[in-house]
């Protein structure tokens, strides 16, 4: 399963262009989507789920064009976890998932099996009898993810699936997604760069409705290679001066002074040493160029 996006434009009625002539190819496997708030990530996902009709351009899912006559066929192949979803507060976890499984037309016996499997995988088995309103934010997020996985879709679109999860749970969810991605396509949108670094081999970076980058994770990291520096100073005034002059990706108070991680094309004027670039460095470097 692959998705081709050509010249995609989404302009809202108020004149705001959320996606401006975007071109992208999403191959099978986990594909990351990074970008600041308002970059157009959610709009892109809404187009891909057929919720939003683009103003221009074409989208193809495995050769099927996104046209109204094909929407039903496309919708059958998609699972979606929106950024904000409040599942039925009066139902238990089990009931809620069964209800959504019924709605999507999954045979009841198969649905129950899958629910048991995914509850186990997301450590929610002991909470299955709890009402949705009694769950924590992270638990609700996991139930939301299960509803998206229930139909075992060929194309899974997930918007911030790891929001509110503790580190251990995040790792578990990431592993679940990696297993799920075998022979499937997952579009994984998140602000947690670490999650993408651990799961994706390819990603796209969006800013103000445009794709700044689309390609391999390593290639993106390579772009920041030689531009990441680390310096140490005990003088707060000097630290402030560095912050004003350079792009700082991290700052930490240590016993030896203030450690600052700088992203700069040129070697900074203060004493510093080169550092290994991470995906987060590369993302910040790219979006601030």
């Amino acid at each position: 399963m692959s998705i081709q996006i050509k010249n995609l434009t989404v302009t809202f009625k108020n004149g705001v262009t959320a996606i401006d002539h975007g071109n992208l190819e999403i191959p099978h496997g986990i594909f990351g989507l990074l970008g600041e708030n308002g970059a157009g990530k959610t709009t892109l996902m809404r187009v891909l789920t057929t919720i939003l009709t683009p103003s221009g351009g074409t989208v193809m899912l495995d050769g099927i064009p996104y046209e109204e006559r094909n929407y039903e066929t496309i919708q059958k192949k998609i699972g979606y976890l929106p950024q904000e979803i409040d599942l039925y507060p009066g139902l238990t976890v089990q009931e809620c998932l069964e209800y959504m499984g019924d709605l999507s037309g999954i045979p009841r016996r198969i649905c129950r099996k899958r629910i048991t499997y995914y509850l186990e995988k997301t450590s929610l088995t002991k909470h299955r009898r709890k009402k949705m309103r009694q769950l924590s934010g992270g638990m609700k997020r996991r139930v939301g993810l299960i509803q998206a996985l229930l139909g075992e879709p060929e194309f899974l679109i997930i918007d911030e699936p790891t929001t509110g999860l503790d580190p251990e749970e995040r790792i578990r969810i990431r592993n679940l997604l990696v297993d799920f991605s075998e022979n499937r396509t997952i579009l994984f949108s998140t602000h947690v760069v670490e999650d993408l670094a651990a799961t994706c081999s390819r990603l796209a970076v969006m800013k103000k409705g445009q794709f700044l980058y689309a390609g391999g994770v390593q290639e993106l990291v390579d772009q920041a290679k030689g531009h990441v520096w680390s310096c140490m100073t005990s003088d707060p005034v000097k630290a402030q001066e560095v912050e004003q002059r350079y792009l700082v990706s991290a700052k930490q108070y240590t016993e030896g002074g203030i450690q600052i991680r700088i992203l700069s094309r040129e070697r900074p004027h203060i004493s510093c040493r080169p550092e290994q670039a991470t995906l987060e460095d590369a993302y910040i470097y790219l979006t601030n160029q």
């Binding site: 789920t49 057929t50 919708q75 059958k76 904000e84 979803i85 409040d86 139902l91 019924d102």
Partner: protein, 223 residues
């Protein structure tokens, strides 16, 4: 069905609807049992509009409608249909209970004015049940349809209220006559042979069927 009941009939909703009917039967004075139907119909219409407006909109408000969009239209239709049936049945039950409440709270006054004929009373109650059922279905589906079209609960309630004001008025009665959706309320209660009010109920049924037929398109386009 059990899950559906818990989704569309949360405690606060059932409680406010029951309280509404009880309070109405306490404060709305009637002098004859003939007037109970007249007292209940317009009020139950408002209640049905407020009660059913969120049948689908609750999916939009909670953000679940984005996931619903991926489900087959047929399944979505079935769920919305089931929800409407559950709510309408509850309202019908309340309407019947409300009729009883009038007797319970104002029984002495009612009986002092009427000629006690138990068979006539039962017949009157059954006619009322039939009329109120059509009224509840019409106003419930109307508010649900407007709310789904506008993707807003208040539009559903407000839109229905505008029609309510227009039809439940002297002018509405004068202009529409027996074709008024409140023809049962405006009928001559003392002339039991006059069945022309059925025309108004026929209008309600036809409009309800038309709105139900439009539901798949509304869910597809505005869901």
């Amino acid at each position: 069905m059990k899950k559906e009941c818990r989704i569309v009939l949360p405690f606060y909703k059932t409680a406010f609807a029951a309280a509404f009917v009880v309070i109405l039967s306490l404060v709305r004075g009637v002098s004859m049992s003939l007037e109970i139907g007249i007292a209940l119909e317009p009020a139950m219409a408002v209640l049905a509009a407020a009660f059913c407006a969120d049948t689908y909109v609750l999916e939009i408000v909670s953000g679940r409608s984005e996931v619903w969009r991926l489900y087959p239209v047929r399944n979505r239709m079935c769920v919305v249909g089931r929800r409407l049936v559950i709510q309408e049945l509850y309202l019908l039950l309340l309407a019947a209970a409300g009729y009883g409440c009038f007797f319970l709270f104002q029984g002495r006054e009612i009986f002092s004015f009427m000629n006690p004929k138990p068979v006539g009373e039962l017949q009157r109650f059954l006619v009322y049940l039939g009329a109120i059922m059509v009224t509840l279905v019409f106003w419930g589906i109307l508010s649900h349809t407007i709310a789904s079209l506008c993707r807003n609960l208040w539009c559903g309630i407000g839109g229905s209220l505008i029609l309510w004001i227009l039809t439940f008025s002297e002018r509405g009665d004068r202009c529409l006559g027996p074709w008024n959706v409140f023809s049962y309320t405006f009928r001559n209660v003392e002339d039991s042979s006059d069945m022309s009010w059925l025309l108004g109920k026929g209008v309600c049924i036809i409009c309800s069927v038309a709105m139900c037929a439009a539901l798949p398109v509304i869910l597809k386009k505005r869901g």
